[in-house]
């Protein structure tokens, strides 16, 4: 018996037979109608179609914008604006599709052994959507750049930036959560530009160590965007940019700058040697390898990190991302990822592959049987 039907009026249900779907569109009960729409295959199709258009737009958008920018606009957001018109963006569409999937599992898809493959696939998909959304808020991605001989216990998040005061390492305030007062002076964030360049013309009276007057959107394509902020600090307007060479000094003598947020790593990493190998006679990279010294408390050991061979430390994984492109080939760039839910993707893969193949085999048997008729 359909669980859902039981809660509703008996008159509106009809017997379910093999091959028949119990639909409820004729109902006048608004809640039931809503549930029907929420779990309908039509909504799935519209969602998929929308996602198709979104992905296509997001792909072409990258012709003129950085991948981070595109991701933020199209995929890691709830709404995307076509001019003034807000339209559903990636997160919203995926959330709707996930909800649709869950509702449909309870209301629409009757379990039959011939559909067991589809069931497993959709279970995997539900897990994928839930896992994706949780990871979106659970997973931390940061970067570590080391020259040979250098070491660090922090990794740096190029997407989130901190305000640092007085040059002290301890006084860090995340830009997206500034306290109302720092050092007894009121702080108000006036303007934040995630991808900013400095301009030496126009603007109001601001203080900046480079002498810049205002911020303009960066026209740089690709790479990691560098942000800029204009903030009121006491009575002064301060302009800070991620690429400022020196801190900006306030009237009260406080030194201000912005830097990527940093996360402590469970170990200290020291780059001992970095090698970038290229195919002879070409600029095609063959392998990047970093030999690092991993120090945890009193214990130190050597590890080799190369492409496809990351260093795994509990929830942390350190990957070889590349080398410094600035003409130097002795600076190694690592990606540090903290992700307690890595296993989700693997479970999803297992579920979906199992489901797909079960369903395919059932379909093949079905086609074969029909052809033999």
């Amino acid at each position: 018996v359909n669980r859902y039907s039981l809660q509703l009026s008996r008159r509106e249900t009809w017997p379910r037979r093999a091959g028949h779907r119990t639909t409820t569109y004729a109902s006048t009960n608004p809640i039931r109608r809503l549930i029907t729409v929420a779990g309908s295959l039509e909504l799935t199709t519209i969602g998929l179609l929308w996602l198709f258009g979104l992905v296509l737009a997001g792909t072409f958008h990258q012709l003129a914008h950085s991948i981070q920018e595109t991701t933020a606009v199209f995929f890691h957001s709830w709404l995307v604006y076509a001019g003034p018109v807000p339209l559903p963006a990636g997160q919203l569409v995926l959330a709707i599709l996930g909800l649709n999937l869950i509702v449909s599992a309870f209301t629409r898809i009757p379990f039959r052994w011939s559909k067991v493959g589809l069931f497993i696939i959709h279970l995997g998909l539900i897990l994928l959507v839930i896992g994706g959304l949780t990871q979106r808020f659970n997973r931390r991605e940061s970067v570590l750049v080391l020259a040979e001989g250098e070491s660090d216990t922090y990794s740096y998040d190029l997407q989130r930036w901190d305000l640092i005061t007085s040059g002290s390492e301890d006084e860090r305030y995340p830009l997206d959560g500034l306290p109302p007062q720092i050092g007894g002076l009121p702080v108000v964030l006036q303007h934040y530009l995630p991808a900013a360049a400095l301009s030496w013309t126009g603007g109001a009276e601001v203080i900046n160590s480079e002498g810049a007057r205002s911020l303009v959107p960066s026209t740089l394509i690709g790479g990691n965007p560098v942000p800029g902020v204009v903030m009121q600090f006491g009575n002064e307007m301060i302009l800070l940019h991620g690429a400022d060479r020196a801190p900006t000094v306030t009237e009260s003598g406080m030194e201000l700058r912005i830097q990527p947020s940093r996360y402590p790593m469970p170990v200290e990493l020291q780059l001992e040697e970095f090698t970038a190998e290229f195919f002879p006679g070409s600029d095609t990279p063959k392998a990047f390898t970093s030999r690092v010294r991993v120090t945890q408390g009193d214990v130190a050991r050597t590890a080799v990190i190369s492409m496809n061979e990351p260093l795994r430390l509990r929830d942390y994984t350190v990957y070889q991302l590349g080398y410094d492109d600035g003409g130097r080939r002795d600076i190694s760039v690592f990606q540090v990822v903290q992700n307690p839910l890595r296993w989700v993707a693997y479970v999803v893969t297992l579920l979906i592959s199992a489901g797909l193949f079960v369903h395919l085999i059932i379909r093949l048997i079905d086609v074969r049987r029909r052809q033999s008729l």
Binding site: T45, L49, T59, Q62, T71, D283, Y319, V336, I352, V367
Partner: protein, 940 residues
């Protein structure tokens, strides 16, 4: 042109001439690559050189190029492909060009080998007349300094480069490669300073070989110099350039004695080539081959160059193309002949063998999954598709036809694409660091590429389906078979592409800690997954009918092309691995053609001639009545007699199903539809107001025709009440005393309408009987039987004796009611069965010729009915429009009189003879000759 009797001349000409021409053209296309000169070992025949051929020994000498040992000719092909994106320079093949570049660089500086796609690149280096094209070293010579400084500068800017900047860097690197290759044998050419005592000038190498000394210590190595001398090293084999070999010998003259032999052999080859002395060149090449042989016998592992040479000579991919072309031509020539599939299967099988060999060879040479670059992945998909097609030829005849077209069209197309991208023969390149061997990468790329193959194969099946629907609109069985194959291929494509995409995510997670990054290539794979999902889901929701699904499958090819080639052309993202201009033209051209075909074919099928005789209308309202619905159509009612039915065809169904008019009101057409069979179930459960349906013409003999004075008894079982309502009104209007008996299981359909009629007409009595009544039912309970009916009639003071009985319901119900009517002393009995699809009788194995006479026995056209073809299908193919509707033997629309011969059919009489009517949609000829049918013109 021979013409079959009965086939119009125009059609006959089309079939015979056009199809044959296409077949011959296909054969010619297949033959072309076989006849065409193979670019592998081309003539080296500039007029100033007397040499005809590069000796085989020289072309196959192993060298190190792009990090892998390979025959010299393969290195030449790769190098030329990298520089110019093709495999020949004017009349010169890649091997000839490469050998000349190495041995006689001054002749090579005028070869136009540097491909520049973007004129802005030439602007940037102050080239005087910039246009897109290929340039020689000499052309660029004046701009080389600027090019070099720009390329070096741009390599170091540390930000992503735009297309022009990328091309500048690439061009700079290509020039470096060219210069490196050209200086490989400098030592052999540079004259040593004259010896102290005068004497003839000799090369530095000659001096070194004779004295063990080198006068000018410039043994520097340029990037791009070719490494030709293997020596043992700590990690196996190291390959040295000539300068490196000399350095090695200087450090330890006894270390590698074979180096001296090889240097001496090259020292014979070089002057022989410069002097165009073919005898000496052959001798030097032999020395080289012997030297290499000696090195191999010393236990040096120089890689599988032998296999590569063999593969280059055999070129299995080309032969696979030939076999597929042959299969296509044969299948077009043989058409639908009985044994055609067996004949065509053979060349397809041969193609499978050749393509499998190509895949194995590729794996043996590169030690990588055979999908490391674009042409390789084309060939991999071709392999998959041809195997699937071959498998289908083994499955069944219907599937075999699809399989043949699938393997030949998709296989040839993909092989052509691969050749187009590489400019000819197979190349075996190297892969970038992040793409290097890794379990997840290997499975990801293999699975996702196989997924592309599935979607492409479904697209080809979509073509076959759409062309079939356009060309032979009535061969439903064949279309259904294609549709099923297309569905499974699409499902398989979706499964593999989805799985491959997730595996790609895992690989990305393993490699750089990011499961998904919205990179264009990832998006491309996702687009394929999404498109396949949309097509499959929209088919279930019936937003896509079969033709739309096939069009979506065809458009799937465009999506695959975009993901496969398009994102590479965009020049962004990690995955871009190069393109050239011809692939862009192919991409745009094929995408446009496919889109036009998909949309055009769908529009034609949807709105074109294939739905002749049906008109489009929309559903005005849907009201539930138990498990059935009452559907009201919008617009003016169709003129009909009460009791008749109308064929209704919702979107997405291939054929209409007849439904009786429910004549409760005059202002619109209404139908009662219960859930039985896919079409009715769809209408009963899913149809909604505003939906478009196609309707045919009203027909049916179940109309009111009782003589005045008689009583009328109407008996309806379940939804059989539909025509009874109208008939009852008709009977009441004619003044008959009317009794309606409604028998049902658990719900009385149209009961409100009947009660209204009862209230309005004193002469009407409605008796109700339910076998499983709902709670609260106080009427009689039970199944219909003589006793039950008599009790009911007696209770109402009515009698069935001498009355006309109208019966409607399922077959079993009608049979029972008929017996009751007879037992009650009925005068006339009219009945209508609601039948389900009839099983056609076993199809005959012979073909038959039948003559179709027009109305009144006029005209007369002979039609060939093929084995397994129904009489209706053959007549429709021949252009004789027998009226038809349901195609399942229930509506009776397609009935024809038999004037001669016999036919077997699904309804009684099963063996129909002269004088009988035969339902042509479920009938086959009973004998091969002497069949004559008379087609009566039905009243419209």
């Amino acid at each position: 042109v021979s013409r079959r009797p009965g086939v119009p001349l125009k059609r006959s000409v089309f079939r015979h001439v056009v199809v044959r021409v296409v077949a011959i053209a296909a054969l010619a296309v297949a033959a072309a690559p076989a006849i065409a000169q193979d670019p592998v070992l081309p003539d080296l025949a500039p007029p100033d050189l007397a040499l005809r051929d590069i000796p085989r020994d020289l072309a196959t000498v192993p060298v190190l190029y792009e990090g892998r040992s390979m025959p010299l000719e393969s290195a030449g092909r790769l190098a030329l492909y990298r520089l110019s994106g093709r495999n020949r320079v004017g009349e010169l093949g890649s091997t000839g060009w490469f050998v000349r570049l190495l041995l006689d660089p001054f002749s090579a500086i005028e070869d136009k080998v540097f491909l520049v796609n973007n004129p802005a690149t030439l602007d940037a280096i102050d080239y005087p007349d910039p246009h897109r094209g290929r340039y020689s070293y000499l052309d660029l010579y004046g701009s080389l300094g600027l090019l070099n400084s720009l390329a070096v500068g741009l390599s170091a800017v540390g930000r992503p480069l735009d297309a022009t900047e990328q091309e500048l860097v690439e061009l700079g690197n290509n020039v470096l490669l060219f210069e490196g290759l050209a200086s490989t044998f400098d030592l052999f050419r540079n004259a040593a300073p004259a010896a102290a005592g005068g004497g003839p000038a000799e090369s530095e190498l000659r001096r070194f070989l004779s004295t063990g000394e080198i006068t000018r210590a410039d043994l520097s190595e340029l990037p791009g110099m070719l490494s030709l001398f293997p020596v043992r090293s700590a990690d196996g084999i190291a390959w040295l350039t000539p300068s490196g070999a000399v350095s090695h010998l200087m450090q330890d003259p006894a270390a590698a004695p074979h180096l001296r032999d090889l240097l001496e052999a090259w020292d014979v080859v070089l002057p022989a080539f410069l002097l165009a002395d073919s005898g000496a060149l052959a001798h030097g090449s032999r020395l080289l081959a012997q030297g290499i042989q000696a090195v191999r016998s010393d236990g040096y592992e120089l890689g599988p160059t032998g296999i590569e040479v063999l593969s280059t000579r055999l070129n299995p991919v080309r032969w696979a193309g030939v076999a597929l072309g042959l299969a296509l031509g044969l299948s077009l020539l043989l058409g639908r002949r009985t044994r055609a599939i067996q004949w065509v299967r053979l060349p397809v099988g041969v193609a499978v063998i050749f393509l499998t060999a190509a895949q194995i060879i590729r794996f043996l040479i590169t030690h990588r999954p055979p999908v490391t670059d674009l042409p390789a992945s084309f060939l991999f998909v071709a392999w998959i598709v041809v195997i699937v097609g071959f498998g289908l030829t083994l499955a069944s005849k219907q599937a075999g036809r699809v399989g043949v077209f699938l393997s030949t069209l998709a296989g040839l197309g993909l092989i052509y694409l691969a050749r187009l991208v590489t400019g000819g023969a197979d190349i075996f390149g190297v892969v970038r660091a992040v793409l290097d061997t890794n379990f997840w990468l290997t499975t990801h790329v293999l699975v996702v590429t196989a997924g592309y193959g599935g979607v492409v194969a479904a697209g080809v099946a979509g073509h076959i389906y759409l062309i079939g629907r356009l060309y032979r609109p009535h061969q439903s069985a064949s279309h259904q078979s294609t549709l099923r194959i297309m569905f499974v291929l699409m499902l398989a494509g979706l499964a593999l592409a989805f799985l491959g995409t997730i595996l790609g995510g895992i690989w990305a997670d393993q490699s750089w800690g990011r499961f998904w990054g919205w990179d264009p290539k990832e998006n491309g794979a996702l687009l394929i997954v999404l498109w396949a999902s949309i097509a499959l889901h929209a088919r279930v929701t019936r937003w896509f009918d079969n033709a739309a699904f096939a069009s979506a499958a065809v458009f799937g090819n465009v999506v695959v092309l975009f993901s496969w080639l398009g994102v590479n052309l965009m020049g962004v993202g990690l995955h871009s691995y190069g393109f050239n201009d011809s692939s862009f033209v192919v991409l745009v051209g094929v995408s446009a053609a496919e889109t036009v075909f998909a949309v055009g074919a769908w529009l034609w099928i949807r709105f074109g001639s294939s739905e002749k005789g049906m008109s489009r209308t929309t559903i005005a309202s849907v009201h539930r009545d138990g498990d059935a619905v009452v559907i009201t159509l919008r617009g003016d009612p169709v003129p009909h007699d009460r009791g008749q039915y109308l064929g209704v065809k919702p979107e997405g169904f291939d054929r209409a199903k007849p439904f009786s008019f429910v004549d409760t009101a005059e202002d619109s057409d209404r139908f009662l539809i219960g859930p039985s069979g896919p079409l009715s179930t769809y209408l009963a459960n899913k149809a909604r107001a505003g939906e478009t349906v196609l309707v045919g013409r009203p027909s049916g003999e179940f109309v009111f025709g009782t003589h005045a004075g008689r009583d009328v008894v109407m008996v309806a079982g379940g939804v059989g009440i539909a025509p009874i309502v109208g008939l009852t009104r008709e009977a009441l209007a004619a003044g008959h005393t009317t009794t309606v008996i409604c028998a049902s299981r658990d719900h009385l359909y149209l009961d409100d309408d009947l009660r209204k009629l009862e209230r309005e007409n004193g002469d009407l009595v409605v008796l109700r009987l339910m076998s499983r009544p709902p709670e609260g039912w106080d009427g009689p309970v039970g199944r219909i039987s003589t006793e039950a009916v008599e009790t009911l009639l007696d209770g109402a003071g009515r009698t069935g004796a001498g009355a006309d009985w109208y019966i409607c319901g399922s077959c079993e119900f009608c049979a029972t009611a008929r017996e009751i009517a007879r037992a009650s002393g009925a005068r006339d009995i009219f009945e209508e069965e609601f039948a389900t699809a009839l099983e056609a009788p076993p199809a005959p194995t012979f073909a038959a010729d039948a003559v179709f006479l027009g109305p009144g026995g006029t005209g007369g056209r002979t039609v060939r009915i093929r084995p397994g073809q129904t009489i209706l299908s053959a007549s429709l193919d021949a252009g004789i429009e027998i009226p038809h509707s349901c195609m399942i033997g229930t509506c009776g629309e397609c009935g024809c009189g038999i004037a001669g011969g016999g036919a077997t059919q699904a309804v009684a009489p099963r063996e129909a003879g002269p004088g009988d009517t035969v339902l042509t949609c479920v009938a086959y000829p009973g004998e091969p000759e002497g069949l004559v049918f008379s087609v009566e013109e039905k009243e419209k």
